[in-house]
């Protein structure tokens, strides 16, 4: 029971990271970025190649400092790869449509097309079979509290996602870029009259979300290996998490991910059917839409963070 709870919390942290990308873009553009799953996938592949060419087939380093070094640089590499892909998506699948003031439907279709294209391009170029990633640290059970096992991986994820989220929260609420993002989310037209470069702000929103998504991809790659379809499921669940926390609400996305993880994994203890987790998550999504459409913390369109 407690084991499932712990698993839920730590998987939920990854959902939170991905959900941030959804919620930021939704806050600014009022659009579900369907191509976000491919940001995650790119992050995963970047992490794979980075670790493959640095650690290779050697066993994971035992030294704390070198482990830390690999994790930090890996997250950076994956995050930057995710940022690049998010920017490319924004440039080619969104900006031409925005210039024409296209209807929302066109954005959604173009985004799903871009996602599909990237997915299959990676499948074509890097093979269609899943592959394990070299490990930057020794994943072993550290402590056991009341029957729940805490592995090294859990702690790494906890630390990394907390740091990333605090950093993001700081960027969105304290910096000039964050203020521009919030201004555009509130009222793009007025913001542009006030001298905010709307196009660049939208780009930076995608970039921020892309960094988080790429970093999440790194952790997924370490844990489950990589495959060209690896982004789909976490991204779907992350969107659920974003809705659960209240879309457009950055802190909501963080909470939503963890709550979704708990809600998803704990019932498996009683049902013993691992595949049920997706069914549960999806039911949760429909139930939120039925009973509390604004999510746990309330949606904050135009008032991000």
């Amino acid at each position: 029971m407690l084991n499932f709870l712990v698993q839920g919390i730590f998987t939920g942290l990854i959902f939170s990271l991905v959900a941030l990308g959804y919620t930021l873009v939704y806050g600014v553009l009022r659009l579900i970025n369907f191509a976000h799953s491919e940001v995650l996938m790119t992050g995963g592949f970047a992490g794979y190649f980075y670790l493959h060419y640095t650690i290779g087939n050697h066993s994971a380093p035992n030294n704390l400092w070198s482990s830390l070094y690999y994790i930090v640089t890996g997250v950076l590499v994956s995050g930057i790869a995710g940022t690049l892909v998010a920017l490319i998506i924004e440039r080619f699948a969104y900006r031409p449509l925005r210039r024409r003031n296209a209807p929302k439907l066109a954005y959604l279709i173009s985004a799903i097309g871009a996602s599909y294209f990237l997915l299959n391009l990676f499948g074509k170029e890097f093979g269609r079979y899943p592959e394990g990633t070299s490990q930057p640290f020794n994943d072993h059970v550290v402590t056991t509290i009341g029957g729940a096992q805490f592995t090294m991986y859990d702690f790494v994820i906890l630390a990394a996602s907390v740091i990333l989220m605090i950093a993001l929260d700081f960027v969105v609420s304290r910096t000039k870029m964050g203020r521009a993002i919030r201004a555009v989310a509130q009222d793009a037209e007025t913001a542009s009259l006030m001298g905010v470069n709307v196009n660049r702000t939208i780009g930076s929103t995608f970039a921020l979300g892309g960094f988080m998504g790429g970093a999440a991809g790194f952790f997924v790659a370490i844990n489950q290996g990589i495959a060209y379809g690896m982004g789909f499921k976490p991204a779907l669940l992350a969107f659920t998490a974003a809705v659960l926390g209240g879309i457009g609400n950055v802190r909501g996305a963080m909470v939503g991910g963890v709550v979704l993880g708990i809600v998803m994994f704990t019932p498996i203890y009683w049902f013993h059917q691992p595949w049920l987790e997706e069914v549960i998550a999806f039911t949760v999504l429909v139930l939120i839409l039925l009973f509390r459409p604004t999510g746990l913390l309330g949606e904050r369109l135009g008032r991000s963070a």
Binding site: L105, I109, G113, L119, G127, E131, G302
Partner: protein
């Protein structure tokens, strides 16, 4: 410019070989550092030039070279001199000849790999090729007629003769075609006494004779009326009289019924499995995407539901039904179940936001796949179901069962379903319901203030699309015989979406054209592998096609006039052209 160049290089990578994770740069290297990449670079540059030209003209920094109003091809042909007109006639002749030969080629035996002259020449052994040539000549006659008519070349008496003779030839030809000496065909043999094989003993002869006579009669009447009228020329051409429309329907029906008899077995099977079922699916999704302006990414879930309901009622699932049902009887069940799940899914989602529907359906598609794949006690899981029983009729004295050995029988059944469905949806679109959909698409707030219950009509569209997919599921299950969960993946939903978008959302004709073309092309390329096409790359192209269509032509290739105007309006800031929720705030520019 640089973008287009990159596009050309990307195309080279897209058509290049498959890579693997162990050699990550292999595929890119192979496709970029070989000679054929120059072709793609040139292609990219040309596209880039065209795009730049278009953009510059559009924003006015370059003056448009062609300042005259846009004229149609026929218009232009009408104004040119006689020699040029003869050239035009010659060109159309060559083009239609080529079309006929191409059609003959792809209906012929499967060529080994590439297009080969040997295989092409081999076509002429078959009588069928001459049939296509005859069709091509008839096509040319029509085109020539059109041109001579517009140029007031006084050939009316001759053209009347042409039509009559042509029709007679066509009737004779197709009557011969219906002759039972030709191998695969659909003769309700159980209804017919055996042994009557002569031309005039066959009922199809009289059917086609009647159709042909009615067609010729109404066409001639139409021409007389038009040439006698004083209406401006342009109006004469644009107005489509009911008889003309009737003729085109009859002609389409004629071709749809007769042409498949000449196709090779591979194409006869594809006609049903690859094209017919997908036409039905696309027409259903068109209601959701085209008519109601919603996005459904889990469309395949309802298709899967229909298929598994069929399997359930033929006892092919581990979970046994209380009674077994004939596949025809399953259709109402499939419709009801798909519709119910559509309502259950649509109601909570659409109440709030239209754009959530896309991701909720995406999730639903995944759930249905997971259930089919993992809930072994009920669905049989990934090894697949047992065998699904087929269609059969046992009514009074008529006994007929559809067997996989005769793919055309399935095809005719599909035609029999598809045509009523198309007419029904067309009627619906022109009724109060269709007008409500249009109103909601164009401006949801205004529509609601006029008393239109937006939620009701949205859920209605969603549920109707779902039930159509359910019917398509029944047809697939029966033909395939054994269901595997792997058939019902997200990729299929996207594929169907592409069929709708490519042809033109909201226009049934467009959707059908898109479905037939996009389903035919991969099936054709699979055996002719031009341009290094590999079947695994299909979805890569589909994704790219979606983005490109949305950027350059969101209304599709054969758009409905209303939808096209809506897109143009939305781009100039009026209305929304979709039903993804009321406009709360303008999109940032």
């Amino acid at each position: 410019m640089a973008t287009a160049l990159c596009g050309g290089l990307l195309l080279a990578v897209m058509t290049g070989p498959e890579g693997s994770i162990t050699q990550p740069t292999y595929a890119v290297r192979e496709s970029l550092f070989t000679a054929h990449v120059y072709g793609y670079i040139v292609f990219g540059l040309v596209v880039g030039l065209l795009l730049t030209y278009r953009a510059k003209v559009k924003n006015g920094s370059w003056r448009q070279i062609r300042s005259a109003p846009r004229r149609t091809l026929v218009d232009r042909a009408a104004s040119v001199t006689l020699p040029a007109r003869l050239v035009a006639l010659g060109v159309t002749a060559v083009l239609s000849l080529f079309a006929g030969l191409l059609f003959a080629d792809f209906s012929g035996p499967v060529a080994a790999n590439k297009f080969s002259w040997h295989a092409f020449a081999h076509q002429f052994v078959f009588t069928r090729t001459y049939g296509y040539l005859a069709l091509a000549i008839a096509l040319w006659f029509t085109a020539a007629n059109q041109i001579t008519h517009l140029t007031r070349m006084r050939l009316r008496s001759l053209s009347r003769l042409q039509i009559v003779v042509g029709a007679l030839i066509a009737i004779l030809f197709f009557s011969l075609a219906a002759d039972p000496f030709l191998p695969p065909r659909f003769a309700l043999s159980s209804l017919n006494p055996v042994g009557k094989s002569s031309l005039f003993h066959h009922w199809t002869t009289y059917l086609w004779l009647g159709v042909g006579l009615v067609g010729v009669y109404s066409y001639l009447r139409k021409r007389d009326r038009l040439t006698g009228s004083t209406a401006p020329r342009r109006l004469q051409r644009v107005a489509v009289s009911p008889s003309m429309r009737m003729i085109s329907y009859l002609g389409a029906g004629f071709i749809a019924i007769e042409a498949p008899k000449f196709l090779s077995l591979y194409w006869q099977i594809s006609l049903y499995q690859q094209i017919g079922v997908y036409c039905l699916l696309a027409v259903g999704l068109n209601i959701v995407v085209g008519f109601a302006g919603l996005l459904d990414l889990g469309y395949v879930a309802f298709y899967a539901l229909g298929a598994y309901v069929t399997a359930y009622f033929s006892g092919a699932l581990p979970l046994q039904p209380p009674f077994h049902l004939n596949a025809f009887m399953v259709i109402p069940f499939a419709v009801v179940i798909a519709m119910l799940s559509g309502v259950l899914l649509g109601l909570p989602t659409l109440r709030l936001r239209g754009d959530y529907l896309a991701i909720v359906t995406l999730g639903f598609g995944e759930i249905i796949y997971v259930l089919a794949n993992d809930w072994v006690q009920v669905t049989g899981g990934s090894p697949g179901t047992g065998s699904v029983s087929g269609f059969d009729i046992n009514l009074l004295r008529i006994h007929y069962s559809w067997s996989p050995a005769n793919p055309l029988s399935y095809y005719y059944l599909m035609i029999g379903v598809l045509i009523p469905v198309i007419f029904l949806f067309d009627l619906l679109n022109n009724s109060k319901v269709g007008r409500s959909w249009a109103a909601i698409r164009e401006d949801e707030v205004a529509a609601q203030s006029l008393g239109i219950n937006a939620l009701k009509y949205k859920v209605m569209a969603f549920a109707m699309g779902a039930s159509t997919a359910g019917v398509a599921g029944v047809f697939t299950a029966v033909k395939v015989g054994v269901l595997f969960p792997n058939t019902f993946v997200l990729q299929l939903s996207i594929t169907i979406l592409v069929l709708v978008i490519f042809g033109g959302m909201g226009s049934i004709l467009g959707v059908l054209v898109g479905a037939v073309f996009l389903q035919w092309l991969p099936a054709y390329l699979t055996f002719h592998s031009y341009f290094g096409y590999q079947q695994t790359d299909l979805y890569l192209y589909i994704g790219a096609l979606l983005v490109i269509m949305m950027i350059f032509r969101p209304q599709g290739l054969v758009p409905s006039r209303r939808r096209q105007r809506e897109f143009a309006d939305a781009e100039s800031g009026q209305g929304s052209a979709d039903a993804l929720g009321p406009i709360t705030q303008e999109m940032p520019q």
